[in-house]
Symmetry: C2
């Protein structure tokens, strides 16, 4: 199983020794910092067991690549542990690895090692991703200052709406819009190229990826940076699919800002550098939006087009 | 939970930012190779859910440290993902982290990051461990040559016998011996200091840790090194507890050599270097035994005191 399906994923890294050894050996020059992150996904908690296996593999990898992108790091490779159960047969493994192979090619990473075990429970999948950043260039949650603009990539809320759609919401939604939202839930788009470029250019003050809801993650940056933030709701980037839903159910707006599965980047930029960041974003074909600014004080508030506060409960995000 | 129990485990690594960020940032000089390994443990597959939580934490860490030791690497730190279920309460977490803290101090490693999620299934725990070795000094499975001696640390078979004892075997075993075997199952002793010293001294030709049974893992070294091996059964290092069992049930000898959970080191040494390796072992207080030698050809055979072959089926090792 390892030789047939997993070893080909490690072909790009000589130090992984085709997964025939017990560890991989990597050489780094001393000019870059190593950036490491780990995320776990559990079947029917973080993805649906019925999701296509190639998408499960890609989501597992992508949520980790998104973390590295949020830190301004360039991804290098990953280690993976899989606790698989009896529902997993060889075609499932083949499709799972096909998905990983496709993403490895797209994002320039290689499997470096791992472990496969059996579980009587749901699938339990874990990835540790490795990236590099020039010395001192990695973005942190800390570093935003009052006056900095709040920038976000892509569109917000699609992943959450995709999960709602899979659970039966929005029966009348246009088929193309439904597909878009489900795609966004099953297959987040980590902003790998833009994240690495932002790190390299040292244009961000602070940053992270949005995985637990825009406002909750913004609150994390505020807490680490000892400041507050104001989000202008009308500047929130929403997809045409999300717009169709909001037109019928405007009360869903807070949900879009507080639910998870966005895997977009959120970062702080000094006003003087916003134009350069926008240029960087267009180089990698990444949409970015200026959604507000950091302020002195603490906490996150949301205002509407005329500056009136919108009440949004920023609770903890709970997976289904 | 993170701030209270996990952040203190990361205090030794400034780049882990007290686990308040999404990734850790590490600086390495370019003189060392990075060695990475990942292992997962599932409740009631690789450990018993009723095991003391501090021992579960320590075993999770130790099986990974053992992999690094088998590669001749010095451990630096680890990332950990925990899929926990409803059976886990705060005292459980506290004890689990106490165990990790104790082992961190003993083995000189630090928690670098991770993820904690909920699962409706059994505990599913994963660690990625990082170590360093001088450039090119990491041991591999490949490199053993005919004539090299086969050396093993510690004693073989205790972990397996400890599991048997927990399941009700050996009702008449002396209490001290029973405790020794159960300890060896629940709390393997990774040969961290000796493994790192062996790597630094570049005295090994090939090496790995024994986690899936002595003979099976020796077969891995043989396959990677394109040679065979002869093990002299009477040279097998067995503990006094295992000796008591073997005296009553001599047919258990093959089991000791084929079952898992040893977490000892197995390595190939040129005959001319054996004395220096023995000196290195006594410096770290590590028992080592010369149990046979590598030969031309392929496969692993076992002989008795007079050179007669002993038939041992080297099957795959299956966890209960």
């Amino acid at each position: 199983l390892i030789a047939r399906y997993f070893a080909p994923l490690a072909a790009g890294a000589p130090g992984a020794m085709a997964l025939t050894d017990d560890a991989c050996v990597l050489t780094f020059d001393g000019r870059e910092d190593l950036v490491l992150t780990a995320d776990a996904l559990v079947g029917d908690v973080h993805f649906l067991s019925s999701d296509p296996p190639d998408r499960i593999g890609r989501k597992l990898l992508r949520v980790n690549l998104s973390d590295l992108a949020g830190k301004g790091a360039r991804p290098v490779g990953y280690l993976m542990t899989l606790a698989l159960n009896e529902s997993v047969d060889e075609p499932w493994i083949a499709a799972f690895c096909d998905g990983l192979a496709s993403d490895q090619a797209q994002f320039g990473v290689t499997l470096l090692g791992g472990d496969t075990v059996l579980t009587p429970g749901p699938l339990s999948l874990s990835v540790t991703a490795l990236g590099v950043a020039e010395k001192g260039a990695a973005l942190r949650r800390k570093g935003a200052a009052p006056g900095d603009r709040i920038l976000a990539t892509g569109s917000i809320g699609d992943g959450h709406l995709g999960l709602c759609a899979l659970r039966g919401d929005f029966p009348d939604l246009a088929a193309g819009h439904r597909r878009h939202l489900v795609d966004r839930y099953q297959l987040p788009e980590p902003r790998v190229a833009f994240g690495a470029a932002l790190g390299r250019a040292r244009l961000g003050q602070a940053g992270m990826d949005i995985s637990d809801g825009l406002l909750g993650d913004l609150a994390h940056i505020c807490a680490a940076s000892s400041c507050g933030a104001v989000v202008e709701a009308h500047r929130l980037p929403v997809s045409p699919a999300a717009s169709e839903i909001l037109a019928l159910e405007p009360d869903r707006l807070p949900e879009l800002m507080t639910c998870g599965d966005d895997y977009e980047l959120l970062f702080a930029v000094s006003p003087a550098k916003v134009t350069r960041v926008q240029a960087l974003a267009s180089e990698s074909g990444t949409q970015i939006s200026d959604i507000g600014h950091f302020v002195a004080g603490r906490g996150v508030s949301v205002i509407d087009r005329v500056g009136a506060p919108i009440d949004v409960a920023i609770g903890g995000f709970t997976h289904f």
